[in-house]
């Protein structure tokens, strides 16, 4: 007789709400009349995200494994789930923007219509919008929330695919420059599937090593390890490939600039922020809970990868002239700094990394949001030249972008500074002082390319004709404003959130 495990509905509610809303969204697509779909989807999406956040607040303080131990509901999980929901909210504000493009939102009217075809022209003329993006988006958010809470390798793998598959699709749905967008989807899918094969094989080897796939079980097997250590090492290495791919760590970073550039910008924002938060959540849980006992083995790996990552990100970023690509390299560099926090393997390191993720995630969405504003007739103008003299022509846009760049560069009184400081000091305390010195140098290098943009915006003559800043609707303003607010407030009064991260920094075993 099967005894069903107890299902902790309350603790599961944040995830379930999002996933169910996504499923309902699919039904809406099937049954609601076409004109009613968008409002229904918007209500559904925002309602689900807000309700999910509310439930996260309600269950805050939970500390248990639920539904037979597959999933952990604990401080880090909930903190990062909250972060993901906030990132998703801001991204959703960007996705619903309809005022920027003369033809509608940032997505192709029908992704199935061939670029440049008569069909596409007709769909555009009819002002069709692809409302299926919303259920896809929600399922991806749900996957991310599971990814940071998964407590065994199977759920981890499923969550990985769940967050990725919708993103592969969404990446290929840009309204403008569709060939680039489709190419981005193709590359992202191909390399993503390749990396998840490595991930899965690593999981198989870890299962072979431990005889179980729960994180706790693997940890136990490590403490009592016998002759099977080679399996553990190989398993960890291949697992890392999958996880490091998602955070775009060097040498698994190649996809990021291409995919970020090709995807519709709201999706790039969601990808750059959300996937990074989720993947780092998973990396943290895996390293702390499952293979913490083998830290002696994997720490050097992460140290070297972190060093490579922030140096390549910072140095190659210098040569970029496209802002989207530049932000991609910036995100690579940030992945390096975050990995440094992971290697700390301490409560401080955990809290610092989570705080960093929160600030980085929200300001990244804001920064990409600003990229959608500067446009020409044919879409966004993301080359650095298009932003010349913006400080004079559009002081607010320039100021907000400068603030984000300052935060990315880690200049004091911005949230980025606090995050970097916290991560660096935690890493230094764990004995990676030399790497912290390198990281400071790398962030100084990175500061050059951030500040170059500031210089271009403020000290260059605006180009007379060419790209213009389009006035967005309230929703983009919300997204950018949210990013600005977080960057400023957490830069000056980080205390409460730091305390929260500190309190939340214990994993349930």
């Amino acid at each position: 007789m099967i005894e069903f495990p107890e299902i902790q509905w309350l603790q599961l509610a944040p995830v379930i709400i999002v996933l169910i809303a996504g499923s309902i969204g699919v039904l809406v697509e099937s049954f609601a009349p076409r004109t009613a779909r968008r409002p229904i989807q918007l209500w559904l999406t925002f309602g689900a995200l807000i309700a999910s956040f509310a439930f996260i607040v309600i269950v805050a303080g939970s500390f248990e494994l639920v539904v037979g131990g597959s999933m952990a509901v604990d401080g880090p999980g909930l903190f990062l789930q909250g972060t993901i929901v906030l990132v998703a909210l801001l991204s959703a504000f960007l996705m619903m923007e309809k005022n920027l493009d003369v033809a509608g939102d940032a997505f192709a009217p029908r992704a199935s219509a061939m670029p440049g075809s008569e069909d596409e022209r007709q769909f555009t003329a009819l002002r069709y919008l692809q409302t299926e993006i919303w259920p896809l988006f929600l399922i991806s958010v749900g996957g991310m929330m599971l990814f940071v809470a998964a407590n065994d390798l199977l759920l981890l793998f499923i969550a990985l695919e769940m967050l990725s598959l919708p993103l592969y699709i969404l990446a290929g749905m840009a309204r403008r420059r569709r060939l680039l967008s489709q190419e981005a989807a193709m590359k992202y899918f191909l390399l993503g599937a390749f990396s998840s094969a490595f991930f899965l094989y690593g999981a198989a080897l870890l299962y072979g090593f431990a005889g179980t796939i729960t994180f706790g079980g693997i940890q136990e097997a490590i403490t009592g390890q016998g002759s099977m250590t080679p399996l553990l090492i190989a398993g960890m290495g291949m697992l890392f490939v999958g996880l490091l791919f998602k955070v775009a760590a060097v040498p698994f970073h190649n996809w990021a600039p291409d995919v970020y550039q090709g995807s519709p910008t709201p999706i790039t924002a969601f990808m750059a922020a959300g996937v990074k938060v989720a993947a780092f959540g998973a990396i943290l849980r895996v390293t702390y809970v499952a293979i913490g006992g083998a830290a002696w083995d994997w720490r050097p790996v992460l140290w070297i990868i972190a060093g490579l990552t922030f140096f390549v990100g910072a140095i190659v970023g210098l040569a970029q002239t496209d802002l989207k690509r530049m932000l991609a390299y910036s995100s690579i560099a940030h992945a390096g700094f975050l990995l440094l926090g992971v290697t700390a393997l301490s409560t401080e390191g955990l809290a610092a990394t989570m705080f960093y993720l929160l600030t980085y995630g929200l300001s990244t969405v804001g920064a990409f949001g600003l990229l959608t504003l500067v446009r020409t007739e044919t879409g966004e103008a993301t080359s650095l030249d298009s932003w010349r003299g913006l400080g004079r022509t559009n002081p607010w846009v320039a100021a907000a972008f400068a603030l984000f760049l300052f935060s990315f560069a880690g200049i004091p009184l911005t949230a980025g500074f606090i995050g970097k400081f916290a991560v660096f000091s935690a890493a230094a305390a764990s004995g990676a002082g030399w790497l912290v010195v390198l990281a400071v140098i790398a962030s100084a290098i990175a500061a050059f390319f951030y500040l170059r943009v500031v210089v271009v915006m403020y000290f260059s003559e605006p180009t007379g004709s060419g790209p213009k800043v389009v006035v967005p609707s309230w929703s983009t303003k919300m997204a950018v404003g949210g990013g600005v607010a977080v960057t400023l407030v957490l830069g000056i009064f980080p205390q409460p959130v730091l305390d929260l991260a500190q309190q939340a920094s214990i994993f349930v075993q």
């Binding site: 590359k187 290495g237 190649n254 040569a319 100084a444 210089v455 000290f459 730091l498």
Partner: protein
């Protein structure tokens, strides 16, 4: 330089003749009037916010508000000074806690302000000179449509500078440090429509960033080593720390200081920064911001005392800049740029003094204070000239201005007396102290200071005579007249400072005694008698003045620079080839590194692979490799990554 450094090392080990006074670092809690010293910062911040947010609505009265919010802190500063003077020596340092800034679990940066005799001196300098320059700017900028914005930026600068000197830890200091940098860029680039101004702002921006990297590195190292960045805790813990680390911190701070104070090798931006409005040059690039580096070093004296190597580097940097700046000052025909060279040289004096360790910290600050007054005076006078000569700055087009600009001539002459060190004016005291101190510690540095004093006399006499004496060499269209009182009155005040500041500080106030609790003081022993030093110095001055006077006042000055000149003059005119050196030394290698890494990331992997595959093939094949963006290449990189990870595992476990 090695011989110089070793000389310094050998002398600094000698036993001091008199018992040294060590620095006191502990501070009392704020109380009474002292609880309110945060208002010093609050006023200019308020002014800035009103002016920048208010926009055009504040056009009518913005400049008045901007001036008032600096004048009031000056009043507060004077009141605080009187209060402080009434206190016992160990009660003069106060700390005001604002809020705790927890940055990582175990680390709390106490966001606190600190007022002690050292910062008191700076507060008065900043607000005092600042007020006068604000008043002067009312007249100087009266025709500019964006005058209120200018005042907003000036207020931002004053607030950031006050924060810099009032911070109680390096982190808050860093905030102020970035703030003055920001204000400086904004003000240098204020006339953005001038391309040269925009370029200059960019240059200042980039070179300052190099220095700022030093500061952030130093702060990070401090935190890693001492677990804190507060002055008192760092200084207390520095004694137990590893000497190498302290030396590294010292060098990092020095890098920051050279960037901000335009010392070699990061000096090049200062001359270009003269593109900014003249009040900016006077306030930021002469009196206050550029001296922040000196403040940083003197403030960190407890660290530098433990790092003799770093201190020696400070000395070397100081001596080099002191002489080089003076040479640039001698050759430049642009009045403001010549003054900028002089500023570099004078700050070089301060660095030299600071590099002497406890024997010189006090004199570095003393000279800094004097310099703040006479250099501001000189710049404002230069601005007055420029204002009336249709914004020309070429001294070869001046001459005989004493006939039409009597007040300006007087104030410039007062500045001249102040800077050259004619007894009994400002530099006579401060420079004399530095020369003596240098001679007592290191005869080479001492001789350099005397030589630089002679150069100072030469270039100042050159400026004075080319501008105000000799024959008229004006262009057709200028009709110079005296500036309005709103400009001349501040100049007169500053002249008074330039003339009598030294006397006051020595006989009435006794700055040396006032500062020693903070900086410590170790008197040195002179190798030759006191009077002999003074006689030699004054003789050198006299030679400098005479040479310049004969060259530029008694003979005709050609209107175009002579071509057949010595190589030294050519070098000096080109700012000692600073730009070329910078380009060769920093920019080129940086670009090459970047290009190489980009190339490596894109094509290097393929390139290596190809090499193993088919050996060395022709360049034509290589060109095909330049295309990438192929998913399969990316996948290959990932597999390489797998092997890299495996290699690290194997190496770290079994090797």
């Amino acid at each position: 330089m090695i011989s110089l450094a070793s000389t310094i090392l050998s002398t600094s080990d000698e036993e001091p003749a008199v018992e040294p006074i060590t620095a006191v670092v502990s501070a009392a809690e704020a109380g009474g009037l002292f609880e309110w010293f945060w208002l010093l910062i609050a006023f200019p911040v308020f002014g800035m916010l009103v002016l920048l947010i208010g926009g055009r609505r504040t056009n009518a009265w913005g400049h008045l508000l901007g001036t008032a919010v600096v004048l009031v802190p000056f009043g507060i500063g004077v009141a605080l000074l009187i209060d402080m003077m009434g206190r016992a020596e160990d009660q003069r340092s106060v700390v005001l806690h604002m809020w705790d800034w927890t940055i990582a679990g175990n680390f709390t940066a106490d966001m606190a302000l600190r007022l002690d005799p050292l910062s008191m001196v700076f507060v008065l300098l900043i607000t005092g000179v600042g007020s006068l320059i604000h008043i002067y700017s009312i007249g100087y900028m009266s025709h500019d449509p964006d005058r209120r914005k200018f005042f907003g930026f000036l207020n931002l600068f004053i607030a950031a500078m006050l924060l810099l000197v009032l911070a109680n830890n390096y982190l808050l200091l860093y905030v102020g440090w970035e703030g003055v940098g920001l204000a400086s860029y904004l003000l240098v680039g204020f006339w953005q429509y001038k391309n040269s101004a925009a370029v200059a702002a960019k240059k200042a921006f980039v070179m300052n960033r190099v220095g700022d990297v030093g500061l952030s590195l130093g702060i990070m190292l401090m935190f890693v080593t001492f677990g804190s960045v507060a002055f008192e805790e760092v200084f207390a813990a520095a004694g137990e720390a590893d000497g190498t680390v302290v030396t590294l911190i010292g060098l990092a701070l020095l890098l920051a200081a050279t960037g901000k104070s335009a010392q070699y090798p990061l000096q090049a931006w200062l001359l270009d920064a003269m593109e900014g409005p003249t009040p900016v040059s006077a306030l930021i690039h002469a009196a206050t911001m550029v001296t922040a580096g000196v403040y940083l070093i003197v403030r960190s004296n407890a660290l530098f005392d433990l790092a003799p190597i770093a201190l020696n580097v400070v000395l070397v940097v100081g001596v080099v800049t002191m002489v080089a700046g003076a040479v640039i000052g001698c050759a430049n025909d642009d009045l403001k740029k010549s003054l900028a060279g002089s500023t570099m040289s004078q700050i070089g004096y301060m660095f030299t003094a600071a590099g002497l360790g406890p024997a010189g910290y006090v004199f570095a600050i003393f000279h800094l204070l004097m310099h703040g007054m006479f250099k501001a005076d000189l710049f404002l006078s230069a601005g007055s000239v420029m204002h009336n000569m249709n914004d020309q700055l070429n001294m070869r087009r001046f001459g005989a201005l004493r006939t039409v600009m009597i007040v300006t001539t007087g104030t410039f002459f007062a500045g001249f007396l102040g800077i050259t060190g004619v007894p009994p004016f400002d530099s006579f005291f401060s420079k004399d102290d530095i020369i003596k101190s240098a001679l007592s510690q290191n005869w080479l540095a001492g001789i350099a200071t005397i030589f630089a004093a002679g150069l100072t006399a030469f270039y100042m006499t050159r400026q004075l005579s080319m501008t105000f004496f000799g024959k008229k060499r004006w262009t057709q269209d200028v009709k110079p007249k005296e500036s309005p009182p709103v400009m001349t009155v501040p100049m007169i005040f500053l002249s008074a400072g330039a003339l009598f500041g030294g006397l006051t500080m020595v006989y009435l106030f006794n700055l040396q005694e006032w500062l020693t609790p903070i900086t410590g003081f170790t008197p040195g022993e002179l190798p030759i008698p006191d009077w002999a030093v003074e006689v030699i110095t004054i003789a050198t001055l006299a030679i400098g003045v005479t040479l310049a006077w004969r060259q530029y006042a008694t003979r005709d000055v050609p209107e175009t620079p002579p071509v057949n000149v010595t190589p030294l003059t050519v070098a000096a005119r080109k700012s000692l080839y600073a730009d070329a050196i910078n380009e060769g030394l920093f920019m080129r290698p940086g670009q090459h590194l970047t290009r190489f890494l980009v190339w490596f990331d894109n094509r290097g992997v393929d390139g290596i692979v190809r090499g193993t595959a088919s050996g060395v093939s022709g360049l034509s094949n290589r060109l095909k490799l330049l295309q990438n963006g192929y998913a399969r290449s990316y996948a290959l990189t990932m597999v390489v990554g797998v092997l890299v990870i495996a290699a690290i595992f194997i190496v770290s476990r079994w090797v």
